[in-house]
Subunit: 254 residues, 2 copies
Amino acid sequence: MSPYDPSAFPPFAVTVDLVVLTVRRHALCALVVRRGEQPYQGRWALPGGFVRSEEDLGAAAARELAEETGLCAHEPGTPSIGNGAHLEQLATYGDPKRDPRMRVVSVAHLVLAPDLPAPRAGGDAHSARWAPVEALLGQEDDYSREDEPPAPLAFDHAQILADGVERARSKIEYSSLATAFCPPEFTVGELRRVYEAVWGVALDPRNFHRKVTGTPGFLVPSGGTTTRQGGRPAQLFRAGGATLLNPPMLRPEV
Amino acid sequence: MSPYDPSAFPPFAVTVDLVVLTVRRHALCALVVRRGEQPYQGRWALPGGFVRSEEDLGAAAARELAEETGLCAHEPGTPSIGNGAHLEQLATYGDPKRDPRMRVVSVAHLVLAPDLPAPRAGGDAHSARWAPVEALLGQEDDYSREDEPPAPLAFDHAQILADGVERARSKIEYSSLATAFCPPEFTVGELRRVYEAVWGVALDPRNFHRKVTGTPGFLVPSGGTTTRQGGRPAQLFRAGGATLLNPPMLRPEV
DNA sequence: GATCATAGTCGTCTTCCTGACGATAAACAG
DNA sequence: CTGTTTATCGTCAGGAAGACGACTATGATC
């Protein structure tokens, strides 16, 4: 190396893998599909697939997402239309032994989506489901009554998932990205429960309310109220134009 | 798609590109090499090259870095020995048209290094040099007496460089990574000039001194003093064990 | 209908951090 | 010796955040 000789380069397969996160029943959940073939047949894996010949990486990720969930994702540059989810590139994994069949370089992407109905299984997956990330990553916490034993994810997908979760946890600190987990209209309490689920901590409702309503551009009132959470009616908000929070939300000490 | 069929995948070339940053003469500079062949012959580009068949992505980046600069980089997981620089994966660029010859997916890496002597030109590059990022990115600022007209970088390297610079700018806010720009022993003033060069702002020496010396684990005194910056002798420090700064350094308003 | 549980919202107080900036200390240049 | 440069310590006011009390407006229960 490295005479830049295009005629003699080692060929790689390039795939995209998706870390699709949502908040369901007060828990951070990831989308996983059951593998229908070897290797790791029958094991859970992150959704993904090959990048096509004339396809950009982000486009491939958005296509795979649509195939698996029907979601219309938009990257930050793209104008935000419809009920799209947030999509961003996460990292690239290229260990020579990560796929026993051949050399595969996978460009992982992170998707943050509001709570959805059951995912539709599509493509090569026998089935798809939402699973709490704690169970998938084999944390210490209680999945005593979870219906799925914590079989490890296929390939290096546990590492990819862990990286995606950590990205989400840190990114909602200094950006308004937590609203990507919420429906178009939401209450301060619902947004707080998103933070609590993603961080796995309890937050003071009064300080949280003061913080988010006092940050300019974070939330804009939509006029209505709702009692879907019970208790006193809560004001409804939409995500404001601000994307960066300054000063940031502070994650409580460990 | 996407039956995961290894026998029928579109082949890609996978490369690593390097954004190597350092601080020289109070300016943030990047390592660029002059291209010796088509396309973009004679233009400046980021150093990089093909990933080998049995080589991990980070290893390929470290190898290319050593070939270009002689630097021994270590990724965060690796134990930090010697005069190594900081290396981390930045992002992956895979636009189908980014290289006119063929489909190339490039995994860009970010390297932060202390000020070095002139880079040694190696590999396929006719020559290598440090260039201020402002000139490379065609900023508004004064490069009136720069010896190089701001010819745009080859391929999409201007975008990659801009992403790397932005990563460095934000990362020194909440991590101790600014010390990667410093020699093993440095003064508070030298560290402050790193921040000033990377951010392009002036910082109050008194508040900066209070902040960095008051953050536990950021700096540990090494015992000696130096007057290499002129003026009153300054205490010498080494980087402490802390990697995350909490609370972070605050970048002044724009 | 009274009571209770639940969630939302507004305030207060203390503590910590930061930005602005005065003042002193220790070197070198003339 | 005097001015210049850089380093370092201190003070003060303003803002943000954690802890927590108090009040409000619903639905559920008796």
